[in-house]
């Protein structure tokens, strides 16, 4: 919005009116655009957070709808009949499911924003590979850390630490997984940064001790508004997992 210098009175009034109606139009446009993009999600879901971060990175206005997974909305059941899971991105009435499919969709539709996937085919392949790795490994192994006991728990702990070390090695000394630019793999992984406290507490290890570069990377990502505005306090996540454990009768 242009700063008004000292002007003739009538000019000032004219500019004031122009600015008023411009911002009114912008508000309307923003509201219309937001209606066109709806995200069905659950606050703590790292998969949903990937989508939120991607939308924020692209500056896309959207309507966020919190789902109660114990009481799924008709909209969710209609939008994702195969899995009945969140997140679902509904764009102009058309649903897109699977968080990393959604992130790629966001990248391709809002292509004038900062690119999420790099341009080079080989770099894109590496990004997809590592995004898929995060998808295959972290969440499922993480669950075993707080659900299981004894031998199975030790097994899960060993596996999880191994996963952290593989990611640590892949990151190396780079600023982000994509290099200088925050991108696809960072988006795929960073929601789990808020889960590190839960994983290490339930697992009986220290993420920082096993993967210091990864922790530093997570902190760097948190300097980005898209990330800091999306991720919840690790203690809140831990509280959530503790309430889940109680629900499942796990000590």
């Amino acid at each position: 919005m242009p700063q008004t210098a000292s002007l003739h009175l009538t000019n000032r009034l004219h500019i004031h009116i122009v600015l008023e109606s411009e911002s009114e139009r912008e508000r309307e446009r923003g509201a219309r655009m937001a209606e066109a993009v709806v995200l069905l999600d659950v606050w703590v879901s790292p998969f949903g957070q990937r989508c939120r971060i991607a939308l924020a990175e692209k500056g896309v206005a959207y309507e966020y709808k919190e789902e109660d997974l114990a009481n799924k909305s008709p909209l969710l059941l209609q939008a994702n009949p195969v899995h009945k899971k969140i997140p679902v991105l509904i764009h102009d009435g058309k649903p897109v499911c699977e968080s990393l499919v959604i992130v790629q969709y966001i990248d391709e539709v809002w292509s004038d924003g900062a690119p999420i996937l790099p341009a080079d085919p080989y770099a894109r392949a590496q990004a997809r590979f590592w995004g898929d790795f995060v998808d295959k490994k972290i969440y499922d192994c993480g669950i075993r850390l707080w659900k299981l006991k004894g031998e199975a728990h030790q097994e899960a702990k060993k596996e999880f630490i191994e996963i952290l070390k593989v990611l640590e090695a892949e990151l190396g000394d780079r600023k982000y997984f994509g290099g200088d630019a925050f991108g696809y793999v960072d988006i795929a992984l960073v929601p789990f940064f808020a889960w590190f406290y839960t994983y290490e507490t339930c697992g009986g290890f220290s993420v920082e001790a096993e993967a210091p570069k990864l922790v530093a990377w997570g902190k760097r990502c948190m300097e980005r508004e898209s990330v800091s505005q999306t991720l919840y306090d690790p203690l809140k996540v831990y509280e959530f997992v503790c309430s889940l454990k109680k629900k499942y009768g796990i000590e």
Binding site: H91, K94, E98, V101, Y105, P121, A125, R128, D132
Partner: protein
């Protein structure tokens, strides 16, 4: 082959693996010459394999100018994006972002369900368990039968006029599906229950880019330890 592109392209894999077959079809579609390098999968695994896929130590691996790309879905998209012009080769993924998202969604679904079900059925001797697994496979195929009309938009393939990403994802599993039908005497890709898919399967296997890449059921039956006989009575 007219318009063939000569590049340093190697595929580490075995010709029976559906995941490897996906890569070979994609390369054929783009008319890229390649060398299929069979690698030792049993322990101790091939050193080349371990070096080029240290994370999973699995096939397929695409080696392009010596640089490895792993995971069949990642490889197929790489092939689509790397070889974009000349030879009249069409795009493997659809053009529109929404159509791409749908194709990717179903490919993820197939990979989540089908390989595990096929793997479970292969050694299964108990009839009740075989029937149960067959039911689960038919559930998957049922959803894909419905998806076919949506994705193909009335054309012959999931990808429309030409073989595309989703055709490759599902079609690469046809060898195993047909073999399990014969070997375990079950109905899977039943023409009555899934008329569109059954027609699509024939069309797919007859395609120029696919012909000869999906091995006959008999090849798979050898692995199952079943003699390569013709189909007997209708399945359970």
């Amino acid at each position: 082959m007219a318009g063939a592109v000569a590049e340093d392209v190697k595929v580490l894999g075995v010709s029976l693996s559906p995941f490897v077959i996906r890569v070979l079809i994609a390369l054929r579609l783009k008319r890229v010459q390649y060398e299929l390098v069979e690698v030792r999968l049993a322990e101790p695994k091939s050193e080349t394999l371990v070096k080029s896929n240290p994370v999973y130590k699995k096939i397929p691996v695409l080696l392009h100018r010596g640089k490895p790309i792993c995971e069949s879905a990642v490889i197929v998209q790489y092939i689509d994006e790397e070889w974009t012009d000349g030879g009249g080769s069409s795009s493997i993924l659809p053009a529109a972002p929404f159509d791409r998202a749908i194709a990717r969604f179903w490919a993820v679904y197939i990979d989540d369900k089908l390989p595990a079900l096929i793997r479970a059925m292969r050694p299964e001797k108990e009839a009740a368990k075989v029937t149960e697994l067959a039911g689960q496979i038919r559930q998957v195929l049922g959803l894909l039968e419905e998806a076919f009309a949506v994705c193909g938009k009335g054309k012959g393939f999931f990808g429309g006029d030409a073989v595309g990403y989703l055709d490759i994802a599902l079609g690469s599993c046809l060898g195993w599906i047909v073999a399990l039908e014969k070997g375990k005497s079950v109905k899977l890709l039943d023409a009555e229950e899934f008329p569109q898919l059954a027609e699509w399967a024939d069309r797919f296997l007859a395609e120029e880019s696919v012909k000869g890449l999906v091995p006959d059921a008999d090849e798979y039956l050898k692995i199952l330890g079943v003699a390569a006989v013709g189909t007997s009575t209708t399945a359970a």
